[in-house]
């Protein structure tokens, strides 16, 4: 089977710092892949390169067989790469409905179907359990609901690859359980790339885990494999045997 996403020698320098350093990465369709690593390991930079928010210094990104290295971010979104922000960045002054209607209307090609925007937006809100709050300005939603809205906006794009950047950050435990269910739901129709610090979440969700350290891939494998990996333990705990 052909990978949905591959990167070859992907690098990004910030001044003298190599935030991402020659990363070769492959992601299979339908997978839930978690990306973990210590702070500053280059996880967010890596997914920003994939989504097109920043340009690579060198290397290549291939999505579904096509080279997307030089495509602007909006064009990558249209190909099916959706990115949900680490720092919640919903449109605070617009209603929850309008927040979701924006990505929905983007995906509709026949421009005359007014009902379709409504139906699509409400479907995305219902999947995330926000339907009864559709009229509220997004800025007035609780933090947990704003995170869900962020995911709803990603969902509404009908992505083939959904990148979730620390989605459970700041959520209560009860909310996290719902969230795990939601991501499993999403993964039935899309490939999920998940950056996450919360290890129980990673272990429950991920099919495979990629560990970043100092801009490079340190290890990759199933959750069991990663849990047993001595190098990974070093990177996290800072011990040298």
């Amino acid at each position: 089977m052909m990978p949905l996403l591959t990167t070859k020698g992907l690098s990004r320098n910030f001044g003298g710092l190599r935030a991402v350093d020659g990363v070769d990465f492959a992601l299979m369709p339908g997978e839930i892949r978690a990306v973990i690593g210590p702070n500053g390991a280059g996880k967010t930079t890596f997914v920003s390169l994939v989504s097109g928010r920043i340009q690579p210094s060198s290397g290549m990104i291939v999505f579904d067989g096509g080279d997307i290295t030089n495509l602007p971010a909006y064009a990558r979104v249209r190909l099916g790469i959706a990115y949900t922000f680490q720092i919640t960045s919903v449109f605070a002054n617009l209603t929850a409905y309008d927040n979701v209607a924006l990505p929905v209307q983007r995906t509709l090609t026949d421009g005359r179907s007014k009902g379709a925007v409504y139906a699509g937006a409400m479907a995305a809100l219902e999947r995330t359990g926000l339907a009864d709050r559709a009229h509220m300005p997004a800025g007035q939603l609780s933090y947990g609901h704003q995170r869900l809205l962020e995911v709803a906006m990603g969902l509404a794009l009908k992505p083939r690859l959904l990148i979730l950047d620390e989605p459970t950050q700041g959520l209560a435990d009860s909310e996290i359980d719902n969230f795990i269910g939601l991501v499993r739901e999403i993964a039935k129709g899309a490939t999920v790339l998940l950056i996450e610090h919360n290890m129980p979440v990673v272990m429950q969700l991920a099919d495979r885990i990629t560990v970043f350290n100092a801009g490079r891939i340190l290890a990759e494998g199933t959750p069991e494999h990663i849990r047993a990996n001595a190098e990974v333990q070093d990177a996290y705990l800072g011990t040298t045997p």
Binding site: R53, P72, Y74, F85, S89, F91, N93, L102, V117, L157
Partner: protein, 320 residues
């Protein structure tokens, strides 16, 4: 919920248009003329609001779009002897083309740089008008001859110098632009513009080419402003470089801020308010600008979102 029920909003706007129509028959001559002028300039403010209110791009150079319409229409009549509709179309075309060129260049910047770049382009435009004084009349300006300001429709010819014809022409233009603005801001495109204003980076990550959307907004805004300028030249018969000066880039900003940015009727209210404050106070004292200044300060203190913006925030959330 549906995509908010439109009936109320359309009823309100049609009501405002009907009110302006009715006023034509009851207003004394002086106010009749003033209101015609205010409607034409409110179109200028609506064009400005399209970019400033909805997309959040603060331009300090919109005088160039207004005067592109003004000179485009005026010079076509004076030098080429074009008819009124053709000259009006020429004014629109000049504004749209200028907006496209300026948009492509100026939208490479944002924030303060965008303000400065648009202001500089407007100054260039102003100086070009002065430089080609042989055609433009320089700082004296030109008067569009009365004989040329006649609108021929089939067998009837309407002199645009006639107060009623002038008022009705201004009202027609105002109504069309008002309804077009209402349709735009309620459309999906309007929703994208507001999204760009609120968070451009996020809008890009929803798959929108924000540059193209902003460029389209600059062209729409510039064209509406040019329509106002062209109408001004044809209805009031004067084409002057003052209209290209920086003062006329600041005025629409002021009108929009007063009336309420990102409200469809705010530009009319702001223009109306400003004109009448100046008109009334200058009747009592030569220091009228002092009173205008105080009025503006009070307004900013108590109506920080403009008159209509504050009304919408506090009482009428459905206002478009």
């Amino acid at each position: 919920m549906k995509e908010a029920s439109p009936a109320k909003a359309y009823a309100l706007h049609l009501g405002v248009i009907a009110l302006l129509f009715a006023l034509s028959f009851v207003l004394p001559e002086y106010h009749h003329g003033l209101l015609a002028r205010i409607m034409v300039l409110a179109v200028f403010a609506m064009g400005y609001n399209m970019l400033f209110g909805y997309v959040g791009l603060l331009s300090l150079g919109h005088a160039m779009f207004f005067s592109a319409g003004l000179y485009g229409a005026g010079l076509a009549v004076i030098h080429l002897g074009w008819s009124v509709p053709a000259a009006f179309a020429a004014g629109l075309a000049c504004g749209a083309l200028l907006a496209l060129v300026i948009g492509v260049l100026a939208l490479r910047t944002s924030g303060v740089a965008f303000m400065i770049v648009t202001m500089m382009f407007a100054q260039v435009f102003y100086l070009i008008i002065l430089y080609f004084a042989a055609w433009t009349g320089g700082d004296q300006g030109l008067v569009v001859p009365q004989s040329a300001r006649v609108l021929v429709l089939g067998d009837t010819s309407l002199g645009l110098t006639n107060p009623t014809v002038r008022y009705m022409s201004a009202l027609v233009l105002f109504s069309i632009v008002l309804l077009v603005a209402l349709v735009i801001v309620r459309s999906r495109y309007g929703r994208v513009l507001v999204a760009i204003r609120e968070n451009e980076e996020r809008t890009k990550m929803l798959g929108y080419d924000t540059f193209s959307n902003k460029l389209a907004a600059v062209v729409v805004s510039g064209t509406i402003c040019a329509a106002s300028g062209a109408a001004y030249a044809l209805l009031f018969g004067y084409v002057g470089s003052t209209f290209a000066s920086v003062q006329y880039s600041i005025l629409p900003l002021l009108w929009v801020l007063l009336g309420g940015a990102a409200t469809t009727l705010g530009p009319l209210i702001g223009t109306l308010f400003m004109y009448y404050v100046v008109d009334i106070t200058s009747g009592y004292t030569s220091a009228y600008l002092l009173i205008v200044g105080i009025a503006l300060i009070l307004l900013v203190l108590f109506f920080p979102r403009g008159i209509l913006g504050t009304i919408r925030q506090r009482w009428l959330g459905w206002l478009p």
